[in-house]
């Protein structure tokens, strides 16, 4: 599994670069590359569906993020830290890593999932739902209700973006035809 460790290490390095680089456009592109490395690691971890989705979603996210950085104050030359937040952040980083390290010892070791419930899905995917892709059979049949929620999240985001992007939120006094003084 050495290639997994290499990719994870590269992701951490990429994340540090993305967070610390001065200009915004390189930062966004670096975070895109971290996402691509994530897709690669999904592929190594035998999750091709997720790898594909992560890859295309990452492209979409990077396109949107780049649109946000174009023609804006691209270089962040000012002092880019909030002191209090930074201290809390570092404290969180150290504490969480330590806590997680002790907690992980109670987890099943990496590569040995318990699969208490999920043995059901591979066994019944073909017979129960007819799909040979077990992940698809889960998201569209066994747990289709989740997928409805997920589609709703996306719908909410679309309506939310439309709502936020309205040029004016409140009507002017004339538009309102004399109902109060705004």
């Amino acid at each position: 599994m050495i290639e997994l460790y290499i990719i994870l290490g590269m992701m951490i390095v990429g994340a540090v670069i993305a967070i610390e680089v001065k200009r915004l456009l390189p930062a966004v592109i670096t975070v895109g590359s971290v996402g691509m490395a994530l897709a690669l690691s999904f592929l190594l971890l035998k999750a091709p569906d997720i790898a594909l989705t992560q890859l295309v979603v990452e492209i979409m996210a990077v396109v949107i993020l780049i649109r946000a950085t174009l023609n804006k104050d691209v270089s962040s030359e000012y002092y880019d830290y909030r002191l209090l937040g930074g201290l809390i952040g570092i404290a969180f980083l150290v504490l969480a890593t330590l806590a997680a390290m002790s907690a992980f010892r109670d987890l099943p070791a990496f590569g040995n999932p318990v699969m208490g419930v999920s043995w059901f899905y591979p066994l019944n995917a073909v017979g129960g739902s007819g799909a040979t892709n077990v992940v698809t059979s889960i998201i569209l049949d066994f747990r289709a209700y989740d997928t409805l929620g997920e589609a709703t999240v996306l719908f909410t985001a679309v309506i939310g973006v439309l709502a936020v992007m309205r040029p004016r939120g409140r009507k002017t006094a004339e538009e309102e035809a004399g109902a109060g003084d705004e």
């Binding site: 569906d49 594909l52 396109v63 949107i64 007819g130 040979t132 892709n133 569209l140 049949d141 589609a151």
Partner: protein, 149 residues
């Protein structure tokens, strides 16, 4: 408007985009239709379809591209996808419950198999693709209005 002054990127990019956008679109459709057999499915395929449109908008500029894909059209397709998905869920009620896979399962590894799953995949891909594309268009239009100021 003459070709040189048209918005968007250079002629080379446009020429290449004419080809690649279709290829990307086709790939997206392939991913959607084979979602129950191979990796992929409605979400990945939907995003790829959205990216095909995003690709052409980026290359040709907003005005040119809005001849084929508008925001109103996108929201229409999105609503269509949502209604299709809800309809599949509700149709299940007459077979015993919300989201029951009521169609015959067919033979495994066939393109037409797995009951409602391919239909759900198509519904979701319409919804995801159109939704993301309209987010992209909305964000782009704000950019344009800003530049005018």
């Amino acid at each position: 408007m003459s070709r040189e002054h048209s918005p968007g990127m250079s002629v080379i990019v446009k020429m290449v985009t004419r080809l690649t956008a279709w290829v990307i679109l086709l790939y997206g459709i392939y991913i959607v239709l084979n979602g129950h057999l191979t990796p992929g499915g409605g979400f990945a395929g939907g995003v790829i379809i959205a990216l095909a449109f995003v690709h052409s908008v980026l290359a040709f500029g907003k005005d040119e591209a809005s001849k084929i894909a508008t925001k109103a059209g996108a929201s229409m397709v999105e609503a269509l996808g949502a209604i299709l998905f809800i309809a599949i869920a509700l149709l299940g009620l007459s077979w015993g419950g919300f989201f029951v896979n009521f169609l015959p399962k067919g033979t495994p590894f066939d393109l037409v198999s797995a009951g409602t799953i391919p239909l759900s995949n198509i519904a979701i891909s319409l919804k995801v693709g159109a939704g993301l594309f309209s987010i992209f268009l909305t964000v782009t239009i704000l950019m344009k209005s800003e530049e005018k100021k």
